[in-house]
């Protein structure tokens, strides 16, 4: 099935390059963009709502996923063109097979902006888990092996000066499961974005014991990626997508991070984001969730290459990715500025 569709798509793309579309930039080029219903995917939603993709001659369609993993596979199979996800074992493995490539940076830890936090359960906190050093010998919730949660645990151990194998990892697959396990004290610690972590701390069901940017400065949490086929065959489309996304990021920054935008415009942005994020809540209630604890997204989708390299080096050392996975296979730095 996937093969047939891919062949069809290749054929269609070849046909397009032949015909009229080539010179007429205004003619809409169809692209499908994968998003997760999270605030960190807001730039894509904003760019779509404000017509930044359309201005680039792209007929963009947003496709909502519930997890990053199927989105990465969807891009590899050619069903989706662009997506945003953390550097995970799955992504690197797909890149190693030559299917996908990271083309830009998205969510990042930035000093001066609230960032991810390491959380301790109430029970563990009472027993002395009050700093990173206390993680030694304790359990730590992760979604899956090779996920960004595990990377943070590894860096925390490194910072506190003990081997990462001293932290007992508990793979729980989903974020709700991690929350449930932390609340009930079945895991001692977890790590999460401020939008989820802060309400837990405020509800007194967990304690924040460290901020991630203190031990992973400039951490490139998520990246923008596309299929290798798109890079090779539709390079110009990739550039136009990133140009549209960059404008979305500017608006996201002005509306939600620095909040320099006029209140009325912020309202419009929040309303647009609400169509996809916390959509099950009424806007008045969702507003607080959308605007709270918003992390920085790199201007112009710039990529922190050193941070990505560090994450790849960890995945290689943990043997969670095919042997010999390299930065050359994972990243294409020709599209955006690098940090």
């Amino acid at each position: 099935m996937a093969l047939t569709r891919r062949h069809f798509a290749t054929g269609a793309a070849a046909g397009a390059t032949f015909g009229i579309v080539r010179n007429a930039r205004a003619a809409s080029e169809p692209v499908r963009i994968g998003i997760l219903p999270l605030v960190s995917h807001a730039p894509t939603i904003i760019a779509q709502a404000k017509g930044y993709f359309a201005a680039q001659g792209l007929a963009a369609r947003l496709v909502t996923f519930q997890a990053a993993e199927p989105m990465a596979v969807g891009i590899a199979s050619g069903d989706i063109d662009f997506g945003v996800t953390a550097i995970t074992g799955g992504l690197v493995s797909l890149a190693d097979k030559g299917a996908v490539k990271v083309i830009g940076g998205s969510l990042a830890e930035a000093s001066g902006v609230e960032g991810q936090k390491v959380l301790a359960s109430n029970a563990a906190y009472a027993k002395g888990l009050t700093s990173l050093a206390g993680l030694k010998g304790r359990s730590f919730a992760v979604t899956t092996a090779g996920s960004s949660f595990e990377y943070v645990a590894y860096k925390a151990a490194q910072k506190a000066g003990f081997p990462a194998s001293d932290i007992v990892l508990r793979p729980l697959q989903t974020i709700p499961a991690c929350i449930a396990a932390l609340k009930t004290g079945q895991v001692d610690a977890w790590e999460m974005l401020p939008s989820v972590a802060d309400p837990l701390v405020a509800a007194k069901v967990a304690h924040a014991i460290a901020t991630v940017q203190d031990f992973i400065p400039g951490y490139q949490v998520t990246t923008v990626f596309t299929s290798t086929a798109n890079i090779n065959k539709r390079r110009e489309v990739v550039q136009r997508f990133l140009a549209g996304l960059a404008k979305g990021i500017d608006d996201y920054d002005a509306a939600l991070v620095t909040r320099t935008m006029a209140p009325k415009e912020i309202d419009a942005i929040v309303a647009a984001v609400h169509k996809y994020v916390f959509a099950a809540m009424p806007l008045a209630k969702a507003r607080a969730h959308i605007t709270h604890g918003v992390m920085r997204i790199n201007t112009g989708a710039a990529l922190n290459v050193a941070s990505v390299a560090d994450q790849l080096q960890w995945l290689n050392a943990r043997k969670l990715v095919p042997a010999g996975s390299t930065m050359q296979k994972l990243v294409d730095t020709s599209f955006v500025k690098t940090i």
């Binding site: 590899a76 074992g89 799955g90 797909l94 097979k97 979604t143 793979p171 449930a180 009930t184 079945q186």
Partner: protein, 270 residues
């Protein structure tokens, strides 16, 4: 004499027209189809017709399986999974048969439990995983509970419908011969419901294997389900298919055991 053909009329022999409509299994044919498919798959992968992203070649799956055996991880994964499956499925089946019999035999139990069972059967146990963590923790009990609940409900339904379908004439006859209630249950209802119960167990065992992967979503470091989940999240599809193959073999093995049990316990039917 009246039936004799008239003299001179041709007698047309009537061939035997019974028989047929009895498909048999032929292990040579099944094996040949299986091997043929694998060879076709391997050839497709080698020729590049099957993308390595879509499916790994069977030989790569074999390598992944060999790695599991060589590192000793196969037994480690299999032993914990078999324990969870065994305890969860056996407990779920015993409880399911008991509750099914209650519903099948007693008006009060039927009134109280039938609708409840139908409602809870439809609840996807995977959706309740976060709650299972709170109720049962992230140790073995939540994993066993997932499998137990999954195999309990189909067994209940198979058992009470089996009881419902026992030939009423047999029961009436036993009553007219003055058999006691207990004796009727033991000698007529239980054997009569057994075919349905065993086919219920066949289904619930498959559901238990399906739920093994869900059960091992909760904080499992070892287990075939955990191995498959990790392979999926790392997009290591050779390991993924290797894990799925192990589950398939497990399903075949359990189905074989139940087939033996059917032959043993249901031989009175033939």
């Amino acid at each position: 004499m009246a039936d004799d053909p008239a003299p001179g009329a041709r007698v047309r022999p009537v061939p035997f027209r019974g028989g047929g409509f009895r498909p048999q299994t032929n292990s040579y044919v099944s094996l040949a189809v299986f091997i043929g498919l694998i060879l076709l798959w391997e050839a497709g992968s080698r020729a590049g017709l099957i993308s390595p992203i879509a499916l790994p070649a069977p030989s790569q799956v074999l390598v992944a399986l060999a790695d599991l055996v060589r590192t000793g991880m196969l037994w480690k994964h299999l032993s914990v999974s078999l324990m969870r499956l065994g305890v969860g499925w056996v407990l779920g089946s015993i409880l399911g048969i008991l509750v099914g019999l209650l519903i099948g035999l007693f008006t009060i139990a039927r009134a109280a439990l039938l609708q409840l069972t139908s409602a809870l059967f439809a609840v996807p146990k995977i959706a309740l995983l976060p709650l299972f963590i709170v109720w049962f923790g992230i140790g073995e009990s939540s994993k066993i509970a997932t499998i137990l609940f999954g195999s309990f409900f189909p067994t209940v339904i198979a058992t009470y419908s089996g009881v419902d379908n026992v030939d009423r004439n047999l029961i009436r006859m036993a009553q007219s011969f003055g058999l006691s209630w207990g004796s009727i249950v033991r000698k007529i209802i239980l054997p009569g419901a057994l075919p349905a119960i065993l086919s219920g167990l066949r289904i619930s065992s498959a559901i238990a294997i399906v739920l093994l992967v869900a059960a091992e979503m909760i904080g499992a470091q070892f287990g075939i389900g955990a191995y498959i989940l990790q392979a999926g999240s790392l997009f290591a599809i050779d390991q993924l298919i290797a894990g799925v193959t192990i589950l398939a073999v497990l399903g075949l093995a359990i189905s074989w055991v139940i087939g033996r049990a059917e032959r043993r316990f249901l031989d009175w039917r033939s």
